[in-house]
Subunit: 251 residues, 2 copies
Amino acid sequence: MGKAKKTITAAVLVIGDEILSGRTKDKNIGYIADFCTNVGIDLAEVRIVPDVEDEIVAAVNALRSRYTYVFTTGGIGPTHDDITADAIAKAFGVGISENPEVIGMLLTRIKPEDLNAARRRMARIPHGAQLVKNRVSTAPGFWIGNVIVMAGVPSIMQSMMDAVADKLETGAKMIIETIDAGGVPEGAYAAGLGEIAAAQGELSIGSYPSFLDGKFRNQIVVRGKDAGAVAMGVDRVEALLKSLRAAHKGL
Amino acid sequence: MGKAKKTITAAVLVIGDEILSGRTKDKNIGYIADFCTNVGIDLAEVRIVPDVEDEIVAAVNALRSRYTYVFTTGGIGPTHDDITADAIAKAFGVGISENPEVIGMLLTRIKPEDLNAARRRMARIPHGAQLVKNRVSTAPGFWIGNVIVMAGVPSIMQSMMDAVADKLETGAKMIIETIDAGGVPEGAYAAGLGEIAAAQGELSIGSYPSFLDGKFRNQIVVRGKDAGAVAMGVDRVEALLKSLRAAHKGL
């Protein structure tokens, strides 16, 4: 019913040596992936790059030309290794300077005599960007073109996502159904599953093994944007598993 | 002492719709990041791409031309969405066919009558690749050129890393020291920390805030490959924090 919504895509760009060194285990990719799926945005690519300006500029430009939105995390604090804002300005070829509104925001929690040069760095915002506020800290992220620049601290990043959520264009939501293979091994259902996937090209059907306590467990996931097509795919997968169980009573 | 070791770099390429949709939360990036740091390989970039052949080929070729090693995870099972082996063969411009040794490995756990076409797919190995075995499953990964292709299931991937660990060229190990800022706010030490970072350009010095129970906690990390330089950097950071605490008794 209604007209088909267009496809909205996104990429995530995680910026930070601490993720690449293993010191910090990223928690933002999974959060943004869930967020995108829930609102109807297709997360299509993720990159993690170090705190190196040329790397950030190259990744931002590669991703922003390809996807509806780019969400970046990390590198917007007051220290010398926080170079995201300058790199974004360079990627867009715009100037960057201290934003008076941000200075005012910082002054709500920082005494004027404590607003040193380092803290003022957090007010450097590329020209043409809109601020993205958050409830956790006074330092904002920003939104320029199709790039949304957020903090790396998960609670702050999540608050920034909340702040932009209503302004994002979204497409049809992905409907995701998970079917437990219930002991039928992946190699037994693979051929039949491939036939279902080929017959219903509008669906994305995946098979995901996990290995726990010495045993494999398999789940089949049927994804699509049309409820009827997803339901038909699920019926076919369940019929396949049933027929395999009947054929091999030992399963 | 001894001659300086050369720098060895790596990238990780995670392949799988399930990571991008948020269904599966990746655990392999952090593991490989720790592994690389521990053995003296600089993890320089990570990408996550969907189960789409052109995307995998493009990412493999972009990364393998730039870094010493590329570690891929995911997409080597028996189902239709497992297309990594074919994509790698395409990226290298080599053929791919059923590898008799892998068929023999599969037959150690699978009865000949159960070795169907889907399971035989797991024996498709690009020409010129060497097998990467693991202790968890009989299906191997493989190593071609500078690309090491591994499973997505963490326990299998980790066993494959163990299998290749001794064969990887490694550089000088990164020495990493973490200093808790002990209540000194990031904005207070940022300027001094930037001066230390500028004075010791051979070090990578980062400041990492975290936010827990309504309070910020900051850690400063000093990374480098020369033990003397790291120790000097740590001394300078500790002296900086001490002087700031003395200046601001309220901290």
